[in-house]
């Protein structure tokens, strides 16, 4: 069956969002019915997740013809086969693994406090608030009005959604959201991106091996964290986690298997369409979480929804605010081409790498013709384009001249 690339992109991005919402409902069921302890559940997720991810990546490594494997063909063109972690990846995997471990433990604690998956999911979107704060501190850049506006809309939207279920606010949940889940999410996403940008055997790093090794490292780090916690607090969460993994293997395997595919669909959508649109579409998981929450509520897994119209209205407004905030943040990007001519006597690869290392540069191409390089840029505002890009370009000695061409409108054959 042939499907237009454009429809395939939307199908993948929306499937990823629906699957992510479904995962939160499965997690909520496991947390409420089988493994109420967040530490034990978190450890169990990574232990079973390692086995499941390994199995999936081995299946995707099956060769289909001389050069390609199943994974190359249907998941990620950069994927060859399952491989060992490389020396240059270890540092990034350790930090990303720590981020994933802390994030998962925080998320599961949140789920055990709040119960309702449609309340927990919007909190993950607050991560943009942190990304803006980090950018402001590390790059000495003042955030723009639209950035502040979008992050405030998302934050307040998520807070509104969290009020709606019971009509009360849990301060403990807020502390976990703001101090544990989102900072860990920032670390996880930054280092995951660093891993994706690495080149392995002259090919871009593939998403399947990144995911597999991330789960393995997260499993090791969670084990260390739990052992330390057990030693100091006199608890037995490690043993509880191991027995929960055996006892409820099917449930945990289901959530980890589905999570793996949600991630894979997301990466695949990113490979076809624009990152901003993919991110915006994925924000709809917040909306899709509501029907899933209604289903688990119907089966009495979580307390029934409030029927108070004011509470329902607050939930709807909160959900709309989160989605709107993310969409306006994701789509309000400025793009530009820079055409560059260089002086003779400088190696092309070196200049290419220098250009690639500038933040905001999404594509570097060495070309034959009037210009030596054409780079594509994606930044939030034109002011940042000057601060982040132009100053850096001026620092590269090899560059003789450059022309900045701002993109006004774009059509893409996706």
């Amino acid at each position: 069956m042939r499907i237009r690339k454009k429809y395939l992109f939307y199908a993948l991005a929306f499937t990823s969002a629906i699957v992510a919402a479904g995962v939160s409902a499965i997690d909520s069921t496991i947390s409420n019915l089988y493994i109420p302890n967040a530490w034990a559940f978190g450890f169990s997720c990574f232990l079973v997740g390692t086995f499941i991810s390994l199995l999936i990546v081995i299946i995707f490594s099956i060769p289909v013809n001389n050069k390609e494997s199943l994974g190359t063909k249907i998941i990620d063109p950069s994927f060859k086969r399952i491989r060992l972690v490389r020396k240059e990846e270890i540092k990034f995997h350790m930090i990303a693994g720590l981020g994933n471990a802390v994030l998962t433990l925080g998320y599961l604690s949140l789920l055990s406090i709040l119960g309702d998956p449609s309340t927990v999911l919007p909190f993950s979107q607050i991560v943009i608030l942190y990304l803006i704060i980090i950018e402001s501190i590390t790059e000495k850049n003042m955030p723009t009005l639209s950035e502040i506006q979008s992050s405030i809309i998302v934050t307040f939207g998520a807070i509104l959604v969290s009020i709606s279920l019971t009509g009360s606010i849990s301060l403990e949940a807020f502390a976990i959201v703001f101090l544990v889940v989102n900072p860990a999410w920032v670390v996880f996403s930054i280092y995951q991106r660093k891993l994706k940008l690495l080149k392995i055997d002259n090919r871009p790093n593939d998403s399947l091996n990144i995911r597999l090794w991330n789960v393995i490292f997260a499993c090791i780090i969670t084990t260390i964290l739990i052992v330390i916690y057990d030693m100091f607090m006199g608890t037995g969460y490690l043993i509880e986690g191991i027995s929960a993994s055996i006892e409820h293997f099917n449930w945990v395997a289901l959530t980890m298997g589905v999570t793996f595919f949600s991630y894979v669909f997301y990466i695949r959508a990113l490979g076809i369409g624009k990152a901003s649109v993919t991110q915006a579409v994925r924000a709809s998981a917040v909306l899709f979480a509501i029907p899933f929450a209604l289903i688990v509520s119907y089966y009495n897994v979580i307390p029934p929804f409030s029927t108070d119209p004011v509470m329902i209205l607050i939930k709807i407004i909160g959900t709309i605010l989160v989605i709107l905030g993310i969409i306006s943040f994701a789509l309000a990007m400025t793009k530009a081409y820079v055409f560059i001519t260089v002086n003779p006597g400088y190696p092309i690869d070196e200049t290419m790498n220098k250009l690639w290392n500038i933040r905001g540069v999404t594509r570097v191409t060495a070309t034959a013709g009037k210009f030596d390089f054409i780079i594509k840029i994606r930044i939030r505002t034109l002011v940042k384009g000057y601060e982040k890009i132009i100053r850096k370009l001026e620092e590269i000695e090899a560059i003789n001249k450059f022309k900045w061409e701002s993109v006004l409108k774009e059509w893409e054959d996706i």
Binding site: K196, L197, A275, K335, A336, Y337, F339, I348, M352, W356, T362, R363, V364, T365, A366, T367, A368, G369, K370, F371, I374, K403, W404, E405, S406, V407, L408, K409, E410, W411, E412, D413
Partner: protein, 79 residues
């Protein structure tokens, strides 16, 4: 696969019609209307140089296209 950028200068007042015609041409991956020395940047993916010539030819035949500059991509790093 051969990838290339084609930088296009157009006559004022014809942009809508030009873009509409460009969107009908096969092998064009992306059309960006830009502000600067050029008016439109087109990214093309073709199998052979002959096909690249055909795309350039079709672009030049569009009423209102003043000048094209083709930049063939030799090496690329992208997200």
């Amino acid at each position: 696969m051969i990838n290339a950028y084609i930088l296009i200068s157009i006559r004022p007042g014809k942009s809508d019609n030009i873009i509409r015609n460009m969107r009908k041409i096969e092998n064009i991956e992306k059309i960006s209307v830009v502000a600067g020395d050029y008016d439109v940047v087109v990214r093309v993916q073709v199998k052979t140089l002959e096909k690249l010539l055909k795309v350039t030819d079709k672009l030049q035949l569009i009423d209102g296209v003043k000048k094209t500059i083709t930049q063939v991509i030799e090496k690329e790093i992208a997200l």
